[in-house]
């Protein structure tokens, strides 16, 4: 009885808070916000890229691979369009592709691939041993599937969410494939303009 009352009060409070002019995210909200799992990978120039060193930037993370002709270009083209629409706010956005195909995706190949969408995009690779824990931490499914009938030889079935990490390194929002660009722009702009607490 006592517990129920507390729960009701909490529910009322959270409803009141959400109604009181707080920003309503359009993407899937990570609740409560948590520290985004940190990692260090290698960027397309062969330099280390550590997530926690990106504080001050909003980071949009996508897991994909360069032999992915449909889903990944769609997500990255949308990310590029969102970044353009953000205007000067876009400078506070770092978009990074983490490969799910480290056997084929060399830093050079990743670099060529991401630059075609936006010169600022980062392509991240590493060894399987480096990458597997990151997939796990972000809940990314990445399963190699042989395609004997295709010239590709194999594909990677993979989660196609775009993860948004705020300027404090908190994991805040996940966009599902097909999220309208204006929704992404709205959430990203809010996180960019909210700044570092």
């Amino acid at each position: 009885m006592q517990l129920n009352r507390v729960l009701l009060a909490l529910l009322a409070l959270s409803l009141a808070l959400s109604a009181c002019g707080s920003y309503e995210f359009r993407g899937g909200v990570i609740e409560p916000p948590s520290d985004a799992p940190d990692f260090t990978l290698t960027n397309q120039s062969g330099q280390p890229f550590q997530l926690s060193e990106q504080r001050g930037q909003v980071v949009l993370l996508f897991f994909g691979f360069t032999n992915c002709p449909d889903v990944c270009p769609t997500a990255l083209a949308e990310a590029a369009a969102a970044r353009r629409q953000l205007g000067t706010d876009g400078e506070k956005l770092t978009v990074a592709l983490i490969t799910v195909d480290p056997e084929r995706d060399t830093p050079e190949r990743l670099g060529r691939y991401v630059r075609a969408f936006d010169p600022s995009f980062v392509g991240l690779s590493g060894t399987r041993a480096e990458l597997e824990p990151i997939y796990k931490a972000y809940g990314v499914a990445a399963t190699r599937r042989e395609l004997p009938e295709s010239a590709l030889a194999y594909t990677i079935d993979h989660s196609a969410f775009l993860y948004v990490i705020d300027r404090d390194g908190q994991w805040r929002v996940a966009f599902t494939p097909g999220t309208p660009i204006e929704d992404m722009v709205s959430d990203l702009r809010h996180l960019i303009q909210t700044g570092v607490s």
Binding site: P69, A77, A80, R112, A116, L152, G178
Partner: protein
């Protein structure tokens, strides 16, 4: 009356030869009841940035005038090619059901028909044997679904370029399409 006919003829001619991606219908088929492919497009792919919109003239009807690889493209080749691309379009069925069984183009080394299944957020790309086109209906080749996959591109696809594709249908036979290169 004669003028009216001339106007109609002009309209038809323009319609058939416009700069928008259009279908070259099989020669024997009638005006109505034949399969139609519209709005064929592909994303930019390859070395260059996407911002470079200027200076590139679309190639003419099936022409490969703009197909010489750039220096950058040549550079890309030894790294395992220019990567891959995907072509999208809308196919409207004619009076009988048909099936897209193959696509051909000299823009890529290999061309396959693929689909993508969204399995709870996990995207699974799979080759398909063919894409059914219902009679009088419509099938969309669009991001996140059916697409013509261009494997190992032989040249960079820049915004404003066009890509000549030949689609092979079970019944309608070969249908030529010009896909425009654009971002969305």
């Amino acid at each position: 009356m004669k003028q009216f006919f001339l106007a109609c003829l002009a309209a038809l001619t323009l319609g058939a030869c416009g700069t928008n991606p259009t279908t070259t219908a099989p020669a024997a088929s009638g005006a109505s009841g034949s399969l139609q492919v519209t709005d064929a497009w592909t994303r930019p792919a390859g070395m260059g940035g996407m911002g470079d919109m200027g200076g590139e003239q679309p190639t003419t009807e099936g022409g490969m005038a703009g197909a010489q690889p750039t220096a950058a493209a040549m550079e890309g080749m030894d790294m395992g090619g220019m990567g891959n691309g995907a072509a999208y379009m809308t196919i409207r069925g004619g009076s009988e059901a048909d099936r897209l069984i193959r696509a051909e183009s000299d823009v890529a080394e290999v061309i396959e028909l693929h689909t993508v299944e969204n399995d709870g957020g996990v995207m699974k790309m799979r080759p398909v044997e063919g894409i059914d086109v219902p009679a009088g209906g419509e099938v969309q080749l669009a991001p996140g679904g059916f697409h013509v996959m261009l494997i190992n591109l032989k040249r960079e696809l820049k915004p404003g370029d066009t890509v000549a594709l030949t689609l092979q249908f079970e019944k309608a036979g070969a249908v030529s399409v010009e896909a425009s290169v654009r971002e969305q």
